[in-house]
């Protein structure tokens, strides 16, 4: 069960590090050598500190696998991943909150595992809940919260790890459109307030353009970096705006092109 992290620069000197995440020619294959299926091939990607990057791709492009590799939940087959500093925080599509704890206790557990002394946990959990605008929810059980509230608590729990990198695996995919829209705005606000680097995986082109500074398009089977776009539209953006729509059309065309290649042979 040892975490497969190739992290922590010697001495943990963050000041000299120019990247929050660096993937260097990363490949991942599943199955036995010989009959292995390559899921990711030769991915090189750098996320700079404070940057918001969206990984975009169709189903089966290995984007969740990539995130698991960065999170240290799985090992690379080839190549290396550097994540200086603390273990990155990870948010899933399911909230993954522990149902035997209250909302506040979930956050306090993350703080405890990070090494925050007992006396500091409660105030810090309250502060994080305020940050995601759930000030009164400390004592609420997970099942008493709506889907949107659960993802906010999950976000607060991820932030409680105080790592420089927040990995998000389609965290809003299961929410209704109205709630998702509100959480996009909250995420943009929290990202601006906390200066955390975000690596956000999605298959929703508009969501990617709405949120990211940089959108990285992955091809499928095996997943390779097909293209990337820098999004210079000012934040906060609206998902309905003309700028987001125009770029989404362009990126969708490329995404469809990638998918079409698979139908041809």
């Amino acid at each position: 069960m040892a975490p497969a992290l190739t992290e922590t620069s010697p001495g943990g000197a963050l000041g000299t590090v120019q990247h929050a995440v660096r993937l260097d020619h990363v490949s991942k294959a599943f199955g036995r050598p010989g009959s292995a299926q390559t899921v990711l091939e030769d991915i090189s990607l750098t996320v700079t500190p404070g940057e918001f990057v969206c990984l975009l791709g169709a189903s089966g492009c290995g984007k969740s696998t990539l995130l698991n590799l960065v999170a240290g939940l799985d090992r690379t087959t080839r190549g290396s991943i550097e994540v200086p500093g603390r273990r990155p925080a990870l948010m899933f599509q399911e909230h993954a909150l522990f149902p035997w704890l209250t909302a506040g206790q979930n956050i306090e557990l993350a703080l405890r595992l990070r090494g925050v002394p007992r006396a500091g946990r409660r105030p810090e959990a309250e502060r994080l809940l305020e940050l995601v605008r759930l000030g009164g929810a400390h004592g609420k059980r997970v099942h008493e919260l709506s889907g949107g509230m659960r993802q906010r608590v999950a976000m607060a729990r991820a932030l409680a790890q105080d790592s420089a990198v927040l990995l998000m695996d389609e965290p809003f995919a299961a929410l209704d459109a109205i709630t998702r829209d509100v959480l996009h705005e909250e995420l943009t606000r929290i990202w601006a307030e906390t200066h955390v680097s975000v690596l956000f995986v999605t298959h929703n082109v508009r969501e990617a353009v709405r949120l990211a500074q940089r959108v990285v398009l992955l091809s499928s089977r095996p997943g390779r970096i097909a293209r990337e776009w820098r999004i210079d539209l000012p934040q906060p953006r609206r998902i309905e705006s003309a700028g987001v729509a125009d770029l989404s059309i362009e990126i969708t065309d490329h995404l469809r092109g990638e998918i079409r290649r698979h139908g041809q042979h």
Binding site: A2, R87, L113, R141, G147
Partner: protein, 297 residues
Amino acid sequence: MASTDATPAAPDSALADLGAGLDALQDASGGRTPLARTLLAKAVPPLAAVTLVLLVWQGVYAAHVKPPYLLPGPVDVWDSLHQQWLQGTIVSTIWTSLSRGMLGFAVSVCIGTPLGLLVARVPLVRAAIGPVFSGLQSMPSVAWVPPAIIWFGLSNATIYAVVLLGAVPSIANGLVSGVDQVQPIYLQAGRTLGATGLRGVRHVLLPAALPGYLAGLKQGWAFAWRSLMAAELIASSPALGLGLGQALENARDQQDMPTVLATIILILLVGIGVELVLFSPLERWILRSRGLLTVRR
């Protein structure tokens, strides 16, 4: 209305209100049913069932299907209970058995829990003794009485050995299935939070496995109680003190059918009582706090 990208999406306070409004709309918490109605719905059906059984019993008794010394009526059994109560033996008999059962159960929990954890988490241990444990669970623990008597004689050690052999496999198996049913997402979330090794077991694995573990404990108690009765019934000696099993055996010796039935009812009542007082509230609390208890109407 062409909204430019420079337009702020919404002022901060408006966004907060919007989020709060959404949360309020999706709030699923409902009211509680009044206590009196709950009691009525919970208590009436079993009481009615018991009354029906007593009526049928009395009917069969009155019809003289069997002679009264073979099939006494409810009133005779009640008299026997009342008699034991007046003599003051009833409480001490129940206590002798109950304290043995509880002590044996507690020791079984202490042994079965680490054992279950080992089987669940260490593949080699699981491959080696997992099937043995499942097999042991289906083995009637009364079969352990003869070897236990040979090893330990007519002593408390015999009784506890049989109780342990009955209860430990149930508890260990309960924990194993509890661990097996833990959703992988919780373990993943725990690992990303830094709960690895023993901290992962303590903060994630055990709490996540608690519902299955509790089911194992419940079954473990049932097995402990059954095994205890079997042991007391066979390993009966004046030196051992009078438990319910021995009381039952003594009553059979004296061909005292009302006391036999009265003792069986007591054994049943203790089993139900422990379930109602200990496990039922615990289980409801765990399930309710996790939102797993659906409201039955």
